[in-house]
């Protein structure tokens, strides 16, 4: 009986969460449709959330490209197909690791910051103050962060793709003596413009996940400083799980059907 009760409570909590997120998405879309956008705040958020994440995104992408190249070059040279390393590195970076790793890094850095900031505003009654003044917290806080991430995450992904390929190219040359011309030629054969665009579509979807989950966790914060801590952790964990799951579904839909 207790198992059933727990299952029921869990289901209700899940549905409540889902309903909350859907309601947040609906209200955000309504604000966007009515062009109720705070442009200055969107610009500030783009700068803080996007530019602030650039270095960590570049570093993780650089090392990821380098390690893919290291592993694949070792095997490829052994089998006499070293000329395909450029294709392997670029293919993996542009279609999968670029968008996903960038999103995971941004979820850790920005998703947590959004949840913590909005959560602190909840516990210090700043959100109630906005509502009391007749201002929508969604228009005031969520929409600028959503737009900032929707602009900046694809941009960061482009940088991540480039630096990952450059890192891979460097290791391929230094470790397996594959010259850059061969590497680039292989990359161009393996990956088309369409793949880059699809990777950026993934980044856009991940941006929405990070923004909505971070904002929702922040807005539903309860219980003071401990509650802010819980909201922050949940924002990161839920975002990362959703990013991985969505990445699989999108890879299947975008790349897997042909």
């Amino acid at each position: 009986m207790r198992v059933l009760e727990r299952f029921g409570a869990g289901t209700i909590a899940f549905l409540e969460y889902l309903g909350g997120i859907v309601s947040l998405i609906g209200e955000s879309i309504r604000s966007l449709v009515h062009a109720q956008i705070r442009y200055a705040e969107t610009f500030t958020q783009s700068y803080e959330l996007g530019l602030g994440s650039l270095l960590i995104v570049l570093l993780t992408s650089l090392f990821t490209g380098m390690v893919i190249s290291l592993e694949s070059a070792q095997q490829a040279v052994q089998f006499g197909i070293g000329s395909l390393v450029g294709g392997a590195v670029t293919y993996t970076s542009v279609r999968e690791l670029g968008p996903m790793l960038t999103a995971v890094v941004v979820a850790g850095r920005v998703g947590s910051a959004i949840a913590a900031e909005i959560g602190s505003m909840v516990v210090t009654e700043q959100i109630d103050a906005l509502r009391s003044m007749g201002l929508s917290p969604v228009r005031f806080l969520v929409v600028p962060r959503l737009l900032a991430l929707a602009i900046m995450l694809p941009l960061l992904t482009i940088f991540a793709d480039i630096i990952s390929i450059v890192g891979g190219m460097w290791i391929a040359q230094a470790y397996a003596h594959i010259n850059p011309e061969t590497f680039i030629s292989s990359a161009r054969q393996a990956v088309g413009f369409e793949d880059v665009v699809k990777g950026l579509v993934k980044a856009l979807v991940f941006a929405c996940i990070i923004a909505f989950v971070g904002c929702y966790q922040g807005l539903s914060t309860r219980g003071g400083a401990a509650g802010v801590g819980r909201a922050t952790t949940s924002a990161v964990v839920i975002s990362i799980i959703l990013i991985f799951g969505t990445n699989f579904i999108m890879s299947y839909l975008l790349f897997g059907t042909h």
Binding site: M121, E125, D128, A129, R131, S132, M133, G134, L135
Partner: protein, 253 residues
């Protein structure tokens, strides 16, 4: 008391979260143009009444009327309109950390009116002047003391010239001098706005200085209500125990 003299009303309001009942069949009239102070034990639901009057929460049953409008089951868009008439000064001011004091105070004007920047600056300066804080326009909230923050919160609350101002524990945690200053400010603002105010407070000295009417909340219901002097001299044992601060009486310690 005729209906036109009542600005806001809680009508048989019950509010509960799960099994936890906060207000139980609570009714209260807020007289137009008067300062009504609500007293009661900590956790009695006093701040909840302010949130109900501001439309931030809805009762489980009963009705909340402000200037003749029922706030219950009202769509958020209509509530936004009605909230222009009321203003809540939060216990800890609840100013937005990222904005300066001037930007905080001017926020409702910038968002709800099409006034030019110079006009907004003039109104904000005037609001800050009326709480004695004109010099902190460019300061951030974390640069101000607790008393100054509360007064900055008052300035934001009055900047749109609301008809009803709700003060949530304006003197809690302040020294006697600042408490007097805050009490004077509330009295001065009432005169300036010529409006209605509801004040939640535990400070009996300041309550009996500013209140026209006093209501006492106990276990989710109003157990005493009347003009200030009537409450001060009340023989109600609950009121007597609360006013004297005695541990002996019907209120369990």
């Amino acid at each position: 008391m005729d209906a036109s003299s009542i600005y806001a009303r809680l009508d048989d309001v019950t509010l509960s979260f799960g099994e936890h009942v906060i207000l139980k069949n609570c009714s209260l009239d807020i007289v137009r143009g008067a300062i009504t102070c609500i007293v009661g034990l900590s956790g009695a639901g006093k701040s909840t009444i302010l949130r109900l009057l501001d439309g931030l929460i809805e009762p489980s049953s009963g009705h909340v009327y402000v200037d003749g409008h029922d706030l219950c089951h009202t769509p958020e868009r209509k509530l936004v309109e009605l909230r222009q008439k009321t203003s809540l000064a939060f216990q800890f001011a609840a100013l937005l950390d990222s904005l300066t004091i001037g930007e905080n105070v001017g926020l409702p004007l910038r968002e709800h009116t099409a006034l030019p920047d110079e006009k907004i600056r003039h109104i904000v300066d005037d609001a800050l002047e009326s709480v004695g804080l004109r010099h902190v326009y460019d300061s951030l909230p974390n640069e101000l003391s607790g008393g100054m923050l509360k007064r900055a919160g008052f300035a934001r609350a009055i900047v749109t010239r609301p008809e009803l101002v709700l003060y949530d524990e304006p003197t809690t945690g302040l020294d006697p001098i600042v408490t007097n200053l805050i009490t004077d400010t509330i009295l001065r603002l009432r005169q300036k706005l010529d409006g209605t105010a509801v004040v939640i407070s535990h400070d009996l000295h300041s309550i009996f200085r500013m209140a026209d009417y006093v209501a006492m909340l106990f276990e989710g219901a109003i157990i005493a209500y009347g003009p200030r002097e009537e409450i001060r001299t009340s023989t109600n044992p609950f009121v007597q125990q609360f006013l004297t601060g005695s541990e002996v009486g019907p209120i369990p310690v």
